[in-house]
Symmetry: C2
Subunit: 245 residues, 2 copies
């Protein structure tokens, strides 16, 4: 059996806060004794907040390309400038939609930049993704001695609604490669690579919700991790490969 346990009672995270301390405190307060089959899932927002990844929109001066894309997408040109600053490529820009390939490789609406639930009185602020979520996951993994996923919510082509994905991972294979395994009938498995990091991030979002509930982390207990630690960067399809394989 697998359990998903919300880590409640984590207050508003501030720039400079020590996330490992905060998470250790939450585990204690929730009365959780960690086990070898625990995986910690931390939502992107508290990582970004601890890193002080806020940008005051009034400080952003949009350039020509941002103004052009803001006109197409009907978005705030300062936000569009931040998207450009955070991205290696714009994938799609149509009214109300701006999809970018974030410099980390993830293809996301608005390059993963948040404007909701980033703290009271922050109407003119945006919150960027963490600087290096795989490195943050690796650091938390070392400090807390358990596998760690950093999750974010995520829209998809062709499907309605958001799910979650892993943008950081350590202590487990974010992409679980089973190529060569044989199925029960002796055939080579058709499904050969499991997006384990995304799957665990998505499972945990049943407990953390999409932000309004204020539960920014969860423990997933009972999944037997096999395989070497691989970062969430492995979940990014190389842009020289096909869109969809």
């Amino acid at each position: 059996m697998i359990e998903i346990i919300p880590l409640t009672g984590i207050g508003e995270v501030q720039p400079g806060d020590d996330l490992a301390d905060i998470l250790r405190g939450a585990l204690d307060r929730c009365g959780i004794e960690t086990r070898p089959d625990d995986i910690l899932v931390v939502t992107q927002k508290i990582v970004s907040k601890a890193q002080g990844r806020f940008v005051a929109l009034d400080d952003v001066v949009p350039g020509d390309e941002a103004i052009r894309l803001a006109d197409i997408t009907r978005k705030d040109a300062r936000l569009v400038q931040l998207v450009l600053d955070e991205s290696s490529a714009i994938i799609r820009a149509v009214p109300h939609v701006l999809i970018a390939r974030h410099r980390l490789g993830h293809v996301m609406a608005n390059a993963g930049i948040d404007r909701s639930n980033i703290g009271a009185g922050t109407g003119d602020r945006a919150l960027l993704l963490p600087v290096d979520p795989d490195a943050t996951a690796a650091s938390l993994h070392r400090q807390l001695a358990m596998p760690v996923i950093i999750s974010d919510s995520f829209g998809r082509p062709w499907r309605m609604g958001v799910v979650a994905v892993a943008i950081g991972a350590a202590g487990l294979p974010a992409l679980d490669d089973r190529r060569g395994e044989i199925d029960r009938d002796g055939r080579t498995l058709e499904v050969t690579q499991i997006a384990l990091g995304d799957i665990i991030a998505t499972a945990a979002c049943l407990a953390t919700g999409e932000g309004a509930e204020g539960i920014p982390a969860a423990l997933l207990r009972g999944y037997a991790v096999a395989g070497a630690s691989r970062p969430a960067a492995d979940l990014v399809r190389p842009s020289n490969e096909d869109l969809f394989a």
Copy 2:
């Protein structure tokens, strides 16, 4: 806390089998007394098998379009003909990749047609998706008196590895629409539609695995369903809308 409980001991499902009986038997054998906060997740393969959705490839005569696409994709032309028969549109055809919009609306590799884990000695058979998985979910929901998701594994554009999605749902909102909700800081939530069916399907796949393990169903316990029943068809982005919003 949320629990994901594998339903073990379900043998090979045969065409004509009564799935409600099989699932009721599995719940009994696993000693599970169902609760009002249980959701049953059933993998597509046993629904398709119960419906006898096998096709012998030797019975398929590929037409010109199938032969042309088989040449491009380097796939078996008979399989390509089945994909064409099952689809309303071909989205992408390049070497080793054939993405189609299934007649149910889901955009999937090979229109969701399986060739692994479909039973011993079935090297020349393929297994199509269920005829109407939302109807099957509705029927199981009535017979078993709990919300039901029918799940399938699913590759994604721009990301490596598979996750799961819901292709059938009843008794819960497969797309949970929270438009208009306010976040903790009084701002309207940016994330407004939750792909709840896909999220539950993905969480359950931690227990069911990707098929090789032979666990074709799981119970997800402890998630408070709110909102009216809406089918998995709601998760399909209408093709007149943008690719990605």
